[in-house]
């Protein structure tokens, strides 16, 4: 089963931005690479820092706490990160970004 929920408008997250959104109690971070948007669990798998305080350059997401880095499209670690980033399935319909939040993604 899928549970597609509207996360934000596609224009809400600009180039090199990573922002926090909360949908029915589920907190996510949304970042942009070119035309694509990516939806991650809000908290860094390392020490729970919100990724929305991190750094996004269109290719890499960096947590600002201990500089763990991931490929923002695949979620794979690109450096010191010991745990890959989880990514919610997402799609764009009209000007809305939707994510499948049927199951909350966690690192535990």
């Amino acid at each position: 089963m899928s549970d597609w929920k509207r996360v934000c408008a596609t224009g809400d997250v600009g180039e090199n931005e990573i922002k926090e959104f909360e949908i029915d109690g589920t907190k996510v971070a949304v970042a942009r690479s070119g035309d694509a948007l990516h939806v991650y669990p809000l908290r860094c798998p390392h020490m729970d820092e919100p990724l929305s305080t991190g750094i996004c350059d269109g290719a890499t997401v960096t947590c600002s706490f201990h500089l763990w880095q991931w490929n923002m499209i695949t979620g794979e670690s690109t450096g010191e990160a010991e745990i890959d980033l989880l990514i919610y399935p997402s799609k764009v319909e009209g000007d809305a970004l939707l994510a499948d939040l049927e199951q909350e993604l966690t690192y535990d």
Binding site: N16, P45, M47, I55, T62, S64, H66, L67, G79
Partner: protein
């Protein structure tokens, strides 16, 4: 008491008595426990308490806001055990690397004002405390609760003499203690060395980018001291950026000028003034120094544009400056995180 600690990559156990902080006991046992500030501000040493009970220590530790209550999380740098404890951390146990820290007694040998609000303190430990350039000690000042993390401001490979620079804070407990009579000769306890933002010329074969703000110059001075003394600056560049509000906030300028003069073609020295630019007479006292107006991280970004490749960056200073410089290095400089070194004190 016995402390068992489960990490992502295994389990360790060590002893800690009820008067000791769990983090410090583990580090002194040679374990690579996670930490940065070791003084309750950064939360890097947080752990869940799965079993047992602890005295939480400093109730107002800033990092406490980042702890969960269910399951109960503690700051290992503050917590002292009331019983045997079982803890779990999210990450891996690091490589303890370098010197194993320990407690030592020492004597505050001298106090020297460097400018209107920075003092130089010299502490002689009763046994050598060797350290890597860039590291810090926890200092237990008599009659002042908690410990202060002070970086060594010179490099002394023997560890016989520890020099610190301390900024006086109006109303601060340590500042009040230092101002209250002649404290030279007082006994002071130290725990260290601590900190991962260190420089070792045999390991760190790279050009250095050093960014210091306000009271953060000390570890940068120790790194430069060692870079000069070890011959590193015969082979590598050092670009040094020191940010202050105005000329009167500068200190240790003579030492910076000496370092720059020793390798003038490979050392770039820039002072950034965020509030008041120095006048002509003041500039004349800073020969060879590039003077710039603005925040030090911004000045650094402009001056270093196109030169970030293969540098090793060290940063120390007020947390907002360190954060801004870190973002600039990652975003603009594409500097890999392993080449960005700082100890988080917030």
């Amino acid at each position: 008491m016995r402390i068992e600690l489960a990490a992502r990559d295994g389990e360790v156990a060590f002893d800690c008595d009820e008067d000791n902080e769990i983090l410090l006991a583990g580090l002194a046992a040679g374990l690579g426990l996670p930490y940065e500030c070791a003084t309750g501000t950064c939360a890097t040493c947080k752990a869940s308490l799965e079993n047992g009970d602890v005295n939480d220590g400093w109730a107002d530790a800033p990092a406490r806001r980042m702890l969960k209550t269910e399951p109960r999380e503690i700051l290992m740098c503050q917590a002292r055990p009331k019983s045997d404890c079982r803890l779990a951390i999210r990450g891996r146990l690091g490589d303890s690397g370098g010197y194993v820290p320990s407690w030592r007694s020492g004597r505050l040998a001298s106090i020297t004002p460097l400018n209107h609000d920075v003092l130089q303190l010299e502490i002689e430990p009763d046994a050598p405390m060797p350290f890597d350039a860039g590291q810090f000690m926890l200092v237990d000042v008599p009659d002042v609760p908690g410990y202060r993390g002070w970086s060594m401001a010179t490099f002394d490979p023997a560890g016989d003499r520890l020099v610190f620079t301390v900024k006086l804070m109006p109303g601060g407990t340590v500042s009040s203690w230092l101002s209250d009579g002649d404290r030279a000769g007082t006994g002071i306890r130290l725990f260290g060395p601590l900190g991962k933002a260190s420089f070792r010329p045999d390991r760190d074969n790279a050009d250095l980018l050093c960014i210091a703000g306000g009271s953060g110059l000390a570890p940068i001075l120790a790194i430069l001291d060692h870079a000069l003394g070890s011959g590193h600056l015969k082979r590598h560049r050092a670009d040094i950026f020191f940010g202050v509000r105005s000329y009167e906030d500068l200190y240790c300028v003579g030492r910076l000028l000496e370092i720059a003069a020793a390798a003038p073609e490979r050392v770039g020295l820039t002072f950034a003034f965020s509030e008041t630019m120095p006048g002509a007479a003041e500039r004349a006292a800073l020969p060879g120094v590039a003077i710039a107006e603005g925040f030090v991280h911004e000045i650094m970004g402009q001056a270093m544009a196109g030169r970030f490749e293969n540098i090793l960056a060290y940063m120390a200073g007020p947390p907002p400056m360190v954060e801004a410089a870190m973002r600039l290095l990652v975003m603009q400089g594409k500097v890999p995180p392993a080449r960005i070194r700082y100890d988080k004190f917030s």
